[in-house]
Amino acid sequence: MEIRVQAEAFDAGAELNRFSAGAEGAGGVVSFTGVVRDLPGGGLRAMEIEHYPGMTEKALTDFAAQAMERWALSDVLVIHRFGALAPGAQIMMVATAAPHRRAAFEAADYLMDYLKSRAPFWKKEITAAGADWVAAKAQDEADLDRW
């Protein structure tokens, strides 16, 4: 189980390979990589991500531990960045390894839902017109009810 909260960019492919190589007994590895999308029509200068140092690591560790308890997983990786990110940059990554594919899929999906709505991160969109905090989506909250 590895949890990283960092300002630095990461190489999703290299992380996937390293994680897969270390996941003993796994038959499958699922990864999710989140990317900063530009606004419809363009114009996003940066996505600024604020977080709550200390609580963030604690929350991500809790989610990963819950996933390990709920599904038969070989390993879990979570990386989440903070700071100012350019459009196209990778924000975060989750990877799950499991003997069986459905467990890996469900655990990654579950982790993403918790990351979206229960980990202390806040996004702000910076454009030429100013800065706007991204509002939480009702859909993201509804997604949590699946678990």
Binding site: Y52, M92, K116, P120, W122, K123, W133, A136
Partner: protein
């Protein structure tokens, strides 16, 4: 007790954290105390349904007791991932 603010709440309050001496028994009591300070605080805390609270870095409820708590954080709903 340390009080932390994040995202737009931090911007409205004007500081990321402050230290307060309080006898508030619950989070809701603490919010009432803060809101009584001035209009800025009152406006920031006007709609509690738009806010979340963490006690000692654990998500909690506005009715939760503050006994023994060292760090209270207020913030809008999270938007990670």
């Amino acid at each position: 007790m340390d009080i932390l603010y994040f995202a737009w709440l931090r911007e409205r309050i004007g500081v990321p954290r402050e230290r307060v001496e309080t006898g508030a028994e619950t989070v809701r009591d603490l919010v009432a105390e803060l809101s009584a300070r001035d209009e800025g605080y009152a406006a920031a805390f006007a709609d509690l349904s738009a806010l979340r609270v963490a006690l000692d870095q654990e998500l909690s409820e506005f009715d939760a007791p503050l006994a023994g708590v060292r760090e209270v954080a207020f913030f809008p709903p999270m938007t990670g991932g």
